[in-house]
Symmetry: C2
C-alpha cells in the first residue's frame, strides 16, 4: 500500500507544504504528524469546530461529511468544500480506484485562525530615518466663549482662537471642518468649558474635535498589502514611535495563489471583486484590532492609514476592477496616489480618517515598488543600483540620481516553497541554510527555530542548489551530473533523479527531504526571471542613453531577500556578479516606504514626482526576452565568463 501513499499528495495552503497521503489518518492527524501546530479544543472529537478546513481540490475522493460535521457546518459551506480536519480522510473505498487511475490532486486550505504557528513574515527592514512631519496633527485650544456683544458662531470662534494661537493658521479661510464632526462641535465646546483638541489633516481640514487635551493620542497605521502576506504597523504620529506590528496571511489566497488566478476569478464571477475586496478588508480590519489591542489604543484615534501593494492588490483593496492589468497592454485604472476617506472603504478606524495609497508605476508594478523606492532612496544613489523586491511577484528597479526604470517578472512562488517537492514557507522546521561537503557529499544544515526538519524554504533551496553545483552534483545546465548517478545520496525513481538532502531518520515526517530535477528547474526559472529581467531593463537603458551601464550596487528587498545567502544568490546567477559588500539586504522596504510616507508628507510629494519620472519596461513583451531568459537558465549564465567572471569555481563545473 505504500505505493498508493506515495502517489497521493496533498498540498496544504497557504503554507505551501506538500505531503503524502497517510492511510487511515484524518487531515488533522496528518497535520499533527507534520508538526504543524493547529488549533483544536476537543482533541479531534468533532465537537469544537475549530479545525475547519476548505478542500479546494479532490473533494470527491474524501469520505462523506459525518453527522458531527453537519451539525457544525451549514449545507452551503459543506457544498463549497468546508470540512472539519478531524473528521476528514481519503475515502478508503476509493483507494483501489485511485490505484488504477492518474494520481488525484488534493489542495486543502488551512484558514488563518486554524494555524497556531507564526510564519516568518518579515515586518522589519532598513529605515533610513525620516523627519516627523505627518499629515495628521493635533492642536490643543482654549476657545473664546460667546457673548451678547460678540455673538460669534462656534466654528468662527474656533477659527479665530486658532489664528491667534498659531501663525500656521493665519489664513483661516482655507480651513474647513469635515461635515461629519460639525454636529459634535456645540456639545464638545460646552461640555469641555471651551477647552478642546482639534485634529487636522493636511493643515486645512479639521477631522476631529475632542474635549480636553488629547494631542498625544494621535495614531496612524501603515500597511503592506502583499499577494500572500499582510503587515500593519501602528505608529504614534505625535512622537513617531512604532507602537505595535501585526501580520496575517492574505485571505485572498483562498481565491488563488497568484495575481493572474485572482484576476481570472474576478473575471469569471459577478461578485468576485466584491468577495476579494471584502476578504482583504476583513484581514486589514483584523490587523487594526490586533495592533490596537496590543498597544491598548482606541481605533478611533487612528486618523490616517498609508498603504502599499502591487497594482492588483491596490485595485482590489480600492474595489477597482483589475481586469485590464491582466490583459495586454496591461493597463491599471490609476497611477497617481489617492486619498480616500476611511468611511468610503469601511475601514475600522476614525470615520474621518484619510487613507493614502502610494502611486503605482504601470502594469503589475505598483505602490509596493514605490514604497521600495521611497524607503531605499535609490533616486539619491550615485552608484547605478539594482533593487529587487522578491515576493510572489518580483519587481526590478534599476537607477540612480540620473534615471529610474522598473519592470516586473513572474518569479513564481518557488522561492516561497510552492511547487517544490519538499518546499515550504519559511517557518519553524524549515531548512534555511545548507552546506555540502564536496568530497563526502555529506550535508550540514540549519532549520528555523532549530526544530527537526520538515521541508526546505527558499533560502535553503538556493543554498542547496549552490552547494550541489559546487559539489559537481549538478551541471551548469541544471542537469544532474551523470558521474554521480550511482551515488548513495542520489535516488532514481518514477519521479526522476533526486538528491537526498536529509535522511528520513532525521526528519519529523520520517520521510527523506530531497531536491529533485523538477525542483532545480523551478529554481532555474525563478532566478532566470530576475536575471533576464534585469538584463532587459539594463539593455533598454543602454540603448536609450547610448552608453554601457554596469550594476554597481544591489538592494535585496522583501521577506525572502532578507534571509538569502548573498554569495549563493550570486552563485546561482540570480543577481549580477558584484562584490557582496555592495549587496544590501534592506528588508521589507515596501512596508518601510508606507511607514515613511505616514510619518512625513514630503515623501508623498516625492513619490508623486517620482511616479512620472520612472520608466516602465514591459519585460515579457520585449523581443529579446525569450533568448535572454533561456540564456539565464544556465548556472550562473550561459555567458558565465563574460557576466560572472569572479565565479572561478564554475571552471570545474561541466556545462551539461
Amino acid at each position: 500500500m505504500s505505493g498508493i501513499n506515495e502517489k497521493i499528495v496533498i498540498d496544504f495552503e497557504p503554507i505551501s507544504r506538500r505531503v503524502n497521503f497517510l492511510e487511515n489518518k484524518t487531515i488533522y492527524e496528518i497535520l499533527i504528524k507534520m508538526a504543524i501546530s493547529v488549533r483544536s479544543l476537543c482533541g479531534g472529537l468533532g465537537t469544537c469546530g475549530k479545525c475547519r478546513i476548505l478542500v479546494q481540490k479532490g473533494q470527491e475522493y474524501l469520505n462523506s461529511p459525518e453527522a458531527s460535521e453537519k451539525k457544525i457546518i451549514n449545507t452551503t459551506d459543506l457544498k463549497k468544500g468546508w470540512r472539519l480536519a478531524c473528521k476528514t480522510k481519503i475515502n478508503n473505498d476509493l483507494i483501489h480506484i485511485i490505484e488504477k487511475k492518474k494520481s488525484p490532486q488534493f489542495r486543502i486550505l488551512l484558514p488563518d485562525e486554524f494555524i497556531l504557528e507564526d510564519f516568518k513574515i518579515l515586518t522589519s527592514g532598513t529605515n533610513k530615518g525620516v523627519e516627523l512631519n505627518p499629515a495628521v496633527k493635533k492642536l490643543y485650544l482654549e476657545v473664546q466663549k460667546p457673548s451678547l456683544d460678540k455673538p460669534i458662531p462656534d466654528v468662527e470662534r474656533i477659527l479665530s482662537s486658532l489664528t491667534s494661537l498659531d501663525n500656521n493658521f493665519s489664513e483661516e479661510k482655507s480651513i474647513t471642518f469635515d461635515f461629519r464632526i460639525m454636529k459634535d462641535i456645540p456639545h464638545v465646546l460646552r461640555e469641555s468649558n471651551h477647552k478642546i483638541t482639534l485634529t487636522f489633516w493636511n493643515n486645512n481640514t479639521v477631522i476631529d474635535i475632542e474635549p480636553g487635551n488629547t494631542v498625544e493620542e494621535n495614531y496612524g497605521i501603515a500597511f503592506d498589502i502583499g499577494t500572500t502576506t499582510l503587515v500593519g504597523y501602528l505608529i504614534n504620529l505625535y512622537n513617531g514611535k512604532t507602537y505595535s506590528v501585526a501580520s496575517k496571511l492574505n485571505s485572498q489566497t483562498i481565491y488563488g495563489e497568484d495575481l493572474i488566478t485572482r484576476i481570472t476569478y474576478i473575471k469569471d464571477n459577478i461578485k468576485g471583486l466584491q468577495e476579494l475586496n471584502s476578504a482583504v478588508l476583513h484581514d486589514l480590519n483584523n490587523i487594526i484590532s490586533k495592533t490596537c489591542s496590543k498597544a491598548n489604543i482606541n481605533p478611533s484615534h487612528i486618523y490616517e492609514a498609508v498603504m502599499v501593494g502591487n497594482s492588483v492588490m491596490h485595485h482590489i483593496f480600492l474595489g477597482l476592477d483589475p481586469i485590464n492589468i491582466g490583459l495586454s497592454p496591461y493597463i491599471p485604472i490609476v497611477k497617481q496616489g489617492l486619498n480616500v476617506k476611511s468611511r468610503d472603504l469601511n475601514f475600522n478606524i476614525s470615520n474621518q480618517a484619510n487613507v493614502y495609497i502610494l502611486p503605482t508605476v504601470a502594469g503589475f508594478v505598483g505602490a509596493d515598488t514605490m514604497g521600495v523606492i521611497v524607503s531605499s532612496r535609490i533616486e539619491k544613489e550615485k552608484d547605478l543600483t539594482l533593487a529587487i523586491d522578491i515576493g510572489t511577484n518580483g519587481e526590478i528597479i534599476i537607477g540612480n540620481q540620473e534615471f529610474l526604470a522598473t519592470g516586473s517578472c513572474a518569479a513564481g512562488s518557488a522561492l516561497e516553497g510552492a511547487h517544490i517537492t519538499d518546499g515550504m514557507r519559511a517557518a519553524a522546521g524549515s531548512i534555511d541554510t545548507v552546506k555540502i561537503d564536496p568530497d563526502s557529499l555529506n550535508v550540514s544544515y540549519t532549520t528555523i527555530k532549530n526544530k527537526k526538519p520538515i521541508g526546505i524554504c527558499g533560502s535553503g533551496l538556493i543554498d542547496a542548489i549552490s552547494e550541489m553545483l559546487k559539489s559537481n552534483i549538478l551541471t551548469r545546465s541544471g542537469n544532474f551530473n551523470k558521474n554521480f548517478l550511482n551515488h548513495e545520496k542520489i535516488n532514481r525513481n518514477e519521479n526522476g533523479i533526486e538528491f537526498i538532502l536529509v535522511k528520513k531518520e532525521e526528519t519529523t515526517l520520517n520521510k527523506d527531504i530531497k531536491i529533485s530535477q523538477h525542483d532545480v528547474r523551478e529554481l532555474q526559472m525563478a532566478k532566470a526571471a530576475f536575471y533576464s529581467g534585469t538584463r532587459i531593463i539594463l539593455k533598454y537603458l543602454e540603448r536609450q542613453l547610448n552608453r554601457d551601464l554596469n550594476i554597481e550596487q544591489i538592494f535585496l528587498a522583501g521577506a525572502f531577500g532578507n534571509y538569502i545567502n548573498k554569495e549563493n544568490a550570486k552563485f546561482i546567477g540570480m543577481i549580477p556578479d558584484i562584490s557582496s559588500k555592495k549587496i544590501f539586504q534592506i528588508g521589507n522596504a515596501a512596508g518601510i516606504g508606507a511607514q515613511n510616507c505616514l510619518l512625513n508628507i514630503d515623501l508623498r510629494r516625492k513619490a508623486e514626482e517620482l511616479k512620472d519620472k520612472i520608466q516602465y519596461i514591459e519585460i515579457a513583451t520585449k523581443k529579446e526576452f525569450q533568448r535572454e531568459y533561456a540564456e539565464s537558465m544556465y548556472f550562473p549564465h550561459i555567458k558565465h565568463l563574460e557576466f560572472f567572471p569572479s565565479l572561478e569555481e564554475y571552471k570545474n563545473i561541466p556545462k551539461r
Copy 2:
C-alpha cells in the same frame, strides 16, 4: 345650538384658516363647505384613505375612530392623532359638556398631498442678471487609447487628453477624481470607444464620467428653505435657463409654526432633530422629483444644489442642533458657507453632487438674508437702503456701499393669516385688496382667482386696516372709534368689537368676514416689530457713524412683500415714510440669491466676504427696544408728524 357652533373653532393648518364647528358634519364636509379643494377617491366612504388628517389639538372631543379608519391607519398613527377626515366629527355626546366648559381648541393639520389647491407661494423675483460661471462644468473628451508602447493608466490618459484640450487644465496635478466614480472609468472608457464626458466641480474634482457627449445635460437646483414654504428651481447650468420650479409647504409645520416652537420640540424630544431633518429632506426630495419630472430630466444629472434658509432651517437641514440659536446669546454653530456631498445628506441627486449652503450672519439671520443681499446687490447701492424680508420670521437689512447691518424681528405669522379671526394664507378665495367708502363705509374688495371670499390674507388685512383708519373707524391707537359703535357695520358681542367686511350672503361659508379688535392688535404688533427693528438698527448705526441717517430706498422682499400695497404698508407705519417710487418689490430675493450663487461661483466668494462685513444687531436685547416697540404700535407711529410727515390724512384721525 348655534351658540355652541360659535364657541367651537377649528384651526386648519398649514393653510391657517379658522372655521366654526358645524354640527353633525365631518371634517371632510366642513372642508368642502369652506370650498377648500381636497382629495378623495371614494367620496367620503372611508375606503380610499386619501383624506388622512392629523388632529393636533382636541382629539379627546372627537368621535372614536371607526372600523374603516382602523383598517387604513395603523394603531401607532391613530394614537398620534391621524384620522380620516370623512369619518371624523365632534362627539355629539360631548356637546353638552362643552357647553358648560371653556371652549375647547381644535387644531387639524391637512397634509400637503390632501390639499388640491395650489397656494400662492412666490417663486419669482427680481433677478438682476448674472453671468454664467457655475461651479459645475462638463467637458467632452476623446481620450488616447493605451498601447504596449505607452501603457498609461486610464486616469492619467484622461488627464493628459484634458491638458492637451484645454489650457485651463494645464496643471493636471491639481485634478482629483471623486473616489466613487473611479470604478466606472475603465468600463465607460472602453464602452464608449474612449469618447467621454467629464463633469468637473470647481475646476478641480471630476464628479462624473459618462460615455459620449452629454455636456448639455448639466443641471443644478436652487432651494429656498422657508419656515413655512419651500421652493426649488431646476436650472440648466449649460445655458443658464430655469427649466422648472416647484414648491411645497414645509412639513416641519407639523412640529410647530414658528422657529422657537420647533427648537423647543428638538430640545424636548431625543429624536426631534432627526424627525425635523427627515421632514424637510423628504420635502426637498419631493421637490426634486417634481421639478425633474416636469422638465423630463434624470435627477442624477443634477450635480449641485445651492440652499438658502434662516439659521434654524439651515441647521436642521444639515442635521445640526439649533438649540443654542434659541438661547441667549443666540449662537449658531457655523457662519461660513458650507460645501457638503449630497450623499452625506441623503439628497436624491447625483451621488457626487455638491451641496452649497450660503453663509449665515448671526442669531436667526441666516443664509436667506445672505441670499437677499446677494440678489439685491444692496452693498452696491449709493442710497441708504432698507431691505425687509417678510416671512414667518422677519429680517431687516440696512446699508449701502459704505456699510451693512442686519437684525431679525419676530413679526409673527399674522401677515400669513394666522391668529386672525378670518385670516388665511394667500390662496384662491382670499381677500387680497380692500377699499372702504368713507361716507357709506361700503366695502369693495377683490379675491385671489376671483372666487367667492373665504377669508382674508395679509395684503387684504393691511388694506382693510388702512381703509378703516382713513374712514375713521379706527383711531391712531388702534381702538375702534366710539362714534361708530352703533353703525350697522359694527358688531359688538362677546368677542368684542368687529367691523363686518363682507356680509355672510356674499361668502362661501355663509358667514360674515370681519376685522376684530384682536385682529387690529395682531397687525399692530407685526408692523411695530418691523418699524421698531428698523429704528433700532438705524439708531445703532447713527451712534456708530456719529451722523444722522435717513432711509432713501426700500426693498420689500418675500412672498408677502410682493403682493402688499406699498402706500398702505407705509400708511399703517410698517415701513418708513418715503416716496413710493423709491419702494421696490423684489420678490423672493432669498431664492433668487440661491439661484444666482448656483449660476455664478464668484457670487459665493462675494457672500463669504460680505458675511464678515455685515454687522449683526440683536434687536430685542437693546434697552430702547421696549419703548421703540410701544411707540411703533400707533398708526403710523406715536411721532407721526416727525416720522411720517407726508401722511396728511392722519390729521383727521383721532389719536385714541
